[in-house]
Structure formats: structure tokens, C-alpha cells
């Protein structure tokens, strides 16, 4: 990391109009969450005994954390594959990851039927060690803390330059500690998502025959893991595109095209595993049954293929618009895969149906709006984004 690319706060007005609009949505979601706790799940959601997991789990937790794998994916590149040039991407990716995981955790608390006993979760004497959900919840909880700790240098750096002496003292003492422990945090930050992202797949594996054969494979955990890494890259690319568009940042074509290249083998391995698995289980024919299962999985596979095609050549990857579209398709593909597994492929019985209620949709979109607003505020106040060479020179 050279001096020029050292992260810096973006500065500028914090409460701009977009932030305020997003905050309004987040506020609505907040009110609705309060309402949900007052009237209960049955009255406020479309959840039922057949589909106890709805939008909040399928999107906020499963898709949301996969989209928040940017920090994990880029860290894999930088620290495991030793590609230091991608380091500037880590902090912004970590911010979205931290927000995404925080929202996932919050959604779980909103979603569980008996939230008043959620306090038991951190205490090991309450644990059921045979539970996949326990692993997921502990990992997500720990990883959320780890993410914010990984980000702590950004806050401490900011504190050191604060006008208040107390903040300055905290920053001065905390930063060396944070920097020293960063190695361990990074290691944890590698381990935890590997565990729980695959476990999110295992969750539905437990539902056995209630999962449609097109998706019901022991490879579910692996497929979830591979696709979440790809989605993490996709999310980082989209983030880069959007911040270049709306925050006037430079689109780091080279760096992001590199991520695009990294997506290719992931897409290939994912598609290969999917199809070989379907073939081995003799379910390839089910792809062409033209019922809604086959249509959904064909759309899903087509999205992956389309993303792969858009990323296939170096020239295509260096076209910003094209790269952005590919990332979007990939993110959509991964999201659809998760929705398919959790809501479409899961059939509790012929009498059950589910579609999220307006409340659920508004809470979810409000939480995402809150995440966006928080992201904008954070990068304006704290040193998250890598400083642009011109800015540093100025």
C-alpha cells in the first residue's frame, strides 16, 4: 500500500437527499419491526407452519450474507492467493460485509418465533451441539463482531485525528493493538464464512425429501460456498460501479476486471458440479420437465452461464458497463439459487403456499436502505475508500 492509496474519508455533506430518503425507508422498517414484536409473526407476516422461513431468511440472511461475502472473497484473493494489488478493495468490501451481516443477525432476531430467549445463544450450556442452525448462528454472530473489529483501524485512525482528546487517546492506544491483532482477525474472517456459508446449504439438506430433487444434493454446502464467493466478487464489482457513478469515484477497471477474471473459474466449477451432480443423480431430465421447478432452475443456470459469457474475454472484462452487467447477473444468479433452494425447491406439502407479506418486504427493503445509508455515511466520515492519486496529490 503506497501513501497515495491510503484510505481517506470522502468528506462532503453527510445527510444528502439520497441518504435522507434511504433513512425514511429504514425508519418505516424500524416501525414495522416494533409492530411485528407487538402483534407477533402470524399477524405481521405471511409465514406459516409449512414455511417457517420466508423472505427474511431467504433474502436477509442467506442471500444477504452471500452478498456480504465481498470482504471474505477479496480477503481470499489478497491473503490466501497473495494478490496484494486488490488490497484497496478490502476496506469498502468489509464495510458492506459488516452491514450485511449485522442486518442478517438483526433479521434472525426479528424472524425467530421466541425472540425473548435469544439471549441464551452466546452461552454454551444452552447449546445443542447437533444443530446446524447453532453453527450458523454462532458463526454469523462471531463473524459480525470480527468484521467490525477488522474495520476498527478505520475508526481508530479517524479517532486519532479527532478534535477531542479522549478520542485521540483511544485512537493512539487502540490502533497498535488493532493492527497487531489484525492478523488473527483476518484468519478468523477467513474461517468463519467458510463454515457458515456452507452450513447455510446444509440447513436445507436436513429437510430431506421435502427438497425437490433438482436441488436436493449432498453438494448443497459446497455449491453454496462456491456461489457465495462468486457473489462476493460480484457485489464488490457492483459496489465499485455504483460508487463511481453516484459518489464520483474512479471506476477501477483494471482491479475490478481482475475480480471478473476470478469469477470465471468459480462459475465454471459451480456449473460443472451442478450438472455433473444432476447427471449422476439421474435428474438431468427433470431440468426439461417444464414444471415451475425446471423453469426456475433453468433460469438460474442460464443467469450463471450469461454472467460467464459476459466475462469470457479480457476485452469484455475491461468494458466497465459489461463488467457491471456480468456482476449483476452473477449476483442475481446466486440470489435466485438461494431463493430457489429455500422457497421454491422446499415443499412442505401440497397445501402450503407462501409469498412474503407487504410487512416482510418493507422490513427487508428498509433494512437494505438502512445499510446503503449507513455505507454512504461511513465512507464519508471514516477512512474507508482508498484515496485517489489525484486527491492525494491535491
Amino acid at each position: 500500500m503506497n501513501a497515495e492509496s491510503r484510505p481517506q474519508p470522502l468528506g462532503g455533506a453527510v445527510f444528502t437527499r439520497p441518504v435522507l430518503v434511504l433513512a425514511v425507508f429504514a425508519g418505516i422498517a424500524g416501525l414495522l419491526i416494533v409492530w411485528r414484536f407487538i402483534v407477533g409473526l402470524g399477524a405481521s407476516t405471511a409465514l406459516n407452519d409449512g414455511y417457517p422461513w420466508g423472505l427474511w431468511i431467504a433474502f436477509d440472511v442467506v442471500t444477504g450474507t452471500a452478498l456480504s461475502c465481498g470482504g471474505y472473497s477479496v480477503a481470499l484473493l489478497v491473503y490466501i492467493l497473495n494478490r496484494g494489488k486488490y488490497h484497496p478493495l478490502i476496506r469498502p468490501a468489509l464495510v458492506t460485509s459488516a452491514f450485511g451481516y449485522t442486518i442478517a443477525g438483526l433479521s434472525v432476531v426479528v424472524d425467530i418465533g421466541r425472540p425473548w430467549i435469544a439471549y441464551k445463544l452466546p452461552f454454551f450450556w444452552h447449546w445443542n451441539l447437533n444443530s446446524v442452525l447453532l453453527e450458523v448462528s454462532l458463526c454469523i454472530m462471531t463473524y459480525t463482531v470480527v468484521l467490525w473489529l477488522e474495520l476498527s483501524p478505520a475508526f481508530l485512525e479517524w479517532a486519532r485525528t479527532s478534535t477531542y482528546s479522549l478520542f485521540r487517546r483511544v485512537g493512539d492506544t487502540g490502533l497498535p493493538v488493532a493492527n497487531k491483532s489484525l492478523l488473527w482477525l483476518i484468519a478468523l474472517g477467513m474461517l468463519l464464512p467458510t463454515m457458515h456459508q456452507s452450513s447455510l446449504g446444509s440447513l436445507l439438506l436436513l429437510s430431506g425429501p421435502r427438497l425437490h430433487p433438482l436441488w436436493n444434493t449432498t453438494l448443497l454446502p459446497l455449491l453454496f460456498l462456491i456461489s457465495c464467493i462468486a457473489m462476493g466478487f460480484g457485489a464488490v464489482v457492483m459496489e465499485g460501479g455504483l460508487s463511481s457513478k453516484f459518489l464520483g469515484r474512479k471506476f477501477e477497471t483494471d482491479m475490478l476486471a481482475g475480480l471478473g477474471f476470478a469469477m470465471l473459474p468459480l462459475i465454471g466449477v459451480y456449473l460443472g458440479l451442478r450438472l455433473i451432480d444432476l447427471g449422476i443423480r439421474g435428474q438431468l431430465g427433470a431440468l426439461f420437465a417444464f414444471d415451475h421447478y425446471s423453469v426456475m432452475s433453468v433460469i438460474e443456470l442460464a443467469l450463471f452461464v450469461a454472467a460467464g459469457v459476459l466475462l469470457a474475454t479480457d476485452r469484455r472484462r475491461h468494458n466497465a458497463g459489461n463488467l457491471f452487467r456480468a456482476a449483476m447477473l452473477l449476483v442475481l444468479a446466486g440470489a435466485l439459487y438461494r431463493f430457489d433452494v429455500f422457497l421454491v425447491a422446499f415443499q412442505p406439502g401440497p397445501n402450503w403456499s407462501y409469498f412474503p407479506s407487504v410487512t416482510e418486504i418493507l422490513i427487508t427493503s428498509g433494512l437494505v436502505a438502512g445499510e446503503l445509508a449507513g455505507y454512504i455515511v461511513l465512507i464519508k466520515l471514516f477512512p474507508i475508500m482508498a484515496g485517489e492519486p489525484q486527491a492525494a496529490a491535491a
Partner: protein, 388 residues
């Protein structure tokens, strides 16, 4: 040990006396009584008893009723079905339980010998014997279509039945004409009750009827001198009070709307309801659906895949065309069926709309952003040299 052909007595004797005379042991008799209890469990007076000993006690005192069996315009089917009883067997029935004095199919004698036997029995047991009639009686043209020893059937019937204690009309023909009376009824065939309206007559219709119904009626008459309670058609209620349809083993298929449409189709092979094949079960009263023939399960028309023709109903068999469906008076199959699963969970149209709007907006925004990025890319690459 047992000699069923031991000479028949010309005086009335009880079953006990008869068995003793024929050298039948008490054990054999008790075994017979048990078989009666097992095989004929439908309202027989004797099987109200709880033990074979109790049955034996009652049955032993029964005076074997002399029976004269007349056959007119018939197919001998009713006799055939009687021959296929096994509990008791027909030998026990005609030799030990009743005293069959005259039966054209079963007796050894013929011609003058047979006529003599008939005259003898009518003379010896006048007013005490039971007259069983099988087959319809032709009445047109002074009854010339059926003669017995030179006499028309009408005359024989009036003679024999006139001196009988009771008349049992077995089969649909004797009950009300049956097949011979079907349109255009060339012989003017009628049943016994049409000719002897004042006489005590029990109709046991069926084509053929279940032989145990006859056995039950005869035994009750022998034991107590009474006849079972009859319905408006003079059918014993104990055997004809049930509706075939209501007790049908295939009723579930009717209720579920699964019907045979054609012989040999999928539904026919699966044993579905025969209603649409013209089954008269809904209008027919008989015990067939619960008391199958020959003591073998499923041996009855519907059991072997043939629709009920309504042979025990005067107005149905040989009157209503075979494949014509009957009117359902009570429960009709509903047009739609309640689902096995009650639907759970609902999909709000507003929520779908909101989801669509948000999803569409996101994808649209993404595409717009990508397009702008694409154009920015171009302008940037153009403007880059200027900046540097």
C-alpha cells in the same frame, strides 16, 4: 353310521327323533348346529341362541316340515343355488332338517311314481306342508303354455298351494313373474301372489336368491309356525331391508367420483363404482352386498365386476334396461370434492405487486447504471489523456 336314505316316515317327527332313527350321533348334530350359527347369521330364529347346545335344544324339538317344491316356468337356477349351500349342506337340509316330499329336479322318481308321491304328500300332510314355488305361472290362453301331468300350472298351483300351510315363492319368477314376464310377456307369466292374493306367501326374490334366506324362513316356520316379518313386497325383512348401494364395498369409489365407464377400462380393473354402467344398487334392497354367495367373499355380481340388475326389485330387473342408470335418491356424488389438504398460507396480491415493483426497480436501476458506466468508460478513456 349315518344313513340319510333311511326310510322316510309317513308321520310327522321331530328332527331329534329323525336323527336318532338314522343313527346320527349327538356330536354330529352339535357340529351341524354350530355350522348353522356360523354360516347363517342373519336373523334365523334358531341362531338367536348363543351356544350350539341351545340351538340343538330348539332344533331338536323342531318337527321336520314336509316340503313340496313346484317348478313352473323356471331355469332351475334357484334349485341350483340351493344345491350349493354348504353350511348346512343340501343333503342335511333336504333329508334331515326338512322333509322334501316332492321336487322334480331332486327326486329319483318320475312319471306316475312322481305324481303318486305328490298326491300322497298332499294327502298325508294336508294343511301342514310348506309349498315352495319356483318359476312363474303362465296364464294366457288358459295356461296352456305349461302343463304338469296334463294339468295347466295354474290348476296345479291352486291345488297344491291351496292345501299348504304356507307358500314360499323362491326367485324373482315365482315372486312376480321374472324373466318370463318381461315384455312382451308372451305366456302372460305372473307370480304366485298374483294368483293367490289371499294366501300367506313369502316372496324370496333374486335371480337366484341367496339360499340361506329360504333356509331361514323354513326353519323359523318349522320351529315356531310363524313366518318372518315381511315388507310391502312380501319379502322377509331380515334379508331384504338393506340397500345394496348403502352397503356396497365399492361405495367409496362412488363417493369419490371414480366410475367404470366401459367394461375392461382402467376403472373396471381397479374395481371402481359400476353406477354409470347401469348398476341398480341404489334402488335395490337385498343382502347381497354383505352376504355373498356360496360363503366365498366377493361372489356376487358387483364383486365380480358386473353391475347389479336389481333382481330383487319388482319394478327393476327385466323392466328397466340394463345400462340405464337409476336415479339417486339420497346422496349424489358432489361435482367437486373437498381437497384432502386444507390450503394453508395465502399470497397477497399487494405484496406480489410491491415485490415486483422493488425487483423491477432494482434490475432497471442496475441496467441503467451499467449503461451509464459503459458510456462513462468511453468518455473517460477519451478524456484521460487530457487530464494527464
Amino acid at each position: 353310521m349315518r344313513d340319510p336314505l333311511a326310510g322316510s316316515s309317513r308321520v310327522l317327527e321331530t328332527i331329534d327323533e329323525r336323527l336318532k332313527r338314522c343313527g346320527i350321533s349327538r356330536r354330529t348334530f352339535l357340529r351341524f348346529c354350530s355350522s348353522l350359527m356360523i354360516a347363517a347369521p342373519f336373523g334365523l330364529a334358531i341362531t338367536n341362541m348363543k351356544t350350539p347346545e341351545a340351538v340343538a335344544q330348539v332344533l331338536g324339538k323342531v318337527i321336520r316340515p314336509p316340503v313340496i317344491w313346484l317348478e313352473f316356468q323356471d331355469c332351475t337356477g334357484c334349485t341350483e343355488t340351493l344345491l350349493r349351500t354348504s353350511h348346512p349342506g343340501v343333503d342335511d337340509l333336504i333329508l334331515n332338517i326338512i322333509s322334501l316330499e316332492y321336487h322334480e329336479t331332486l327326486m329319483a322318481g318320475a312319471g306316475t311314481q312322481a305324481e303318486a308321491a305328490l298326491a300322497q304328500a298332499m294327502h298325508d300332510y294336508a294343511g301342514k306342508y310348506v309349498c315352495v314355488v319356483e318359476g312363474s305361472i303362465p296364464t294366457r290362453d288358459k295356461g296352456v303354455y305349461m302343463k304338469l301331468a296334463g294339468r295347466p300350472a295354474t290348476e296345479v298351483l291352486a291345488d297344491v298351494a291351496g292345501k299348504a300351510a304356507a307358500v314360499i315363492a323362491i326367485g324373482s319368477c315365482a315372486s312376480w313373474g321374472g324373466i318370463p314376464s318381461a315384455d312382451p310377456n308372451p305366456t302372460g307369466a305372473v307370480g304366485v301372489a298374483d294368483l293367490l292374493p289371499q294366501k300367506t306367501i313369502v316372496n324370496i326374490p333374486g335371480c337366484p336368491p341367496n339360499p340361506y334366506t329360504l333356509l331361514g324362513v323354513v326353519l323359523q316356520f318349522a320351529e315356531s309356525g310363524t313366518l318372518p316379518e315381511l315388507d310391502a313386497e312380501r319379502r322377509p325383512k331380515f334379508a331384504f331391508d338393506r340397500n345394496i348401494h348403502d352397503q356396497c364395498p365399492r361405495r367409496a369409489h362412488f363417493d369419490a367420483g371414480r366410475f367404470v365407464k366401459q367394461y375392461g377400462d382402467q376403472g373396471h380393473r381397479e374395481g371402481w363404482c359400476l353406477y354409470k354402467m347401469g348398476c341398480k344398487g341404489p334402488d335395490t334392497h337385498a343382502g347381497c352386498s354383505t352376504r355373498h354367495f356360496n360363503e366365498i367373499p366377493d361372489v356376487w355380481p358387483i364383486g365380480i365386476g358386473a353391475p347389479c340388475v336389481g333382481c330383487t326389485e319388482k319394478s327393476i330387473a327385466f323392466r328397466v334396461p340394463m345400462f340405464q342408470t337409476v336415479k339417486i335418491h339420497e346422496v349424489t356424488p358432489p361435482d367437486t370434492y373437498a381437497p384432502i389438504y386444507a390450503p394453508q398460507g395465502s399470497i397477497s396480491p399487494v405484496a406480489t405487486g410491491v415485490a415486483g415493483l422493488i425487483g423491477g426497480a432494482l434490475i432497471g436501476a442496475g441496467l441503467m447504471a451499467s449503461r451509464k458506466l459503459g458510456s462513462a468508460d468511453d468518455t473517460e478513456s477519451e478524456s484521460k489523456p487530457k487530464k494527464e
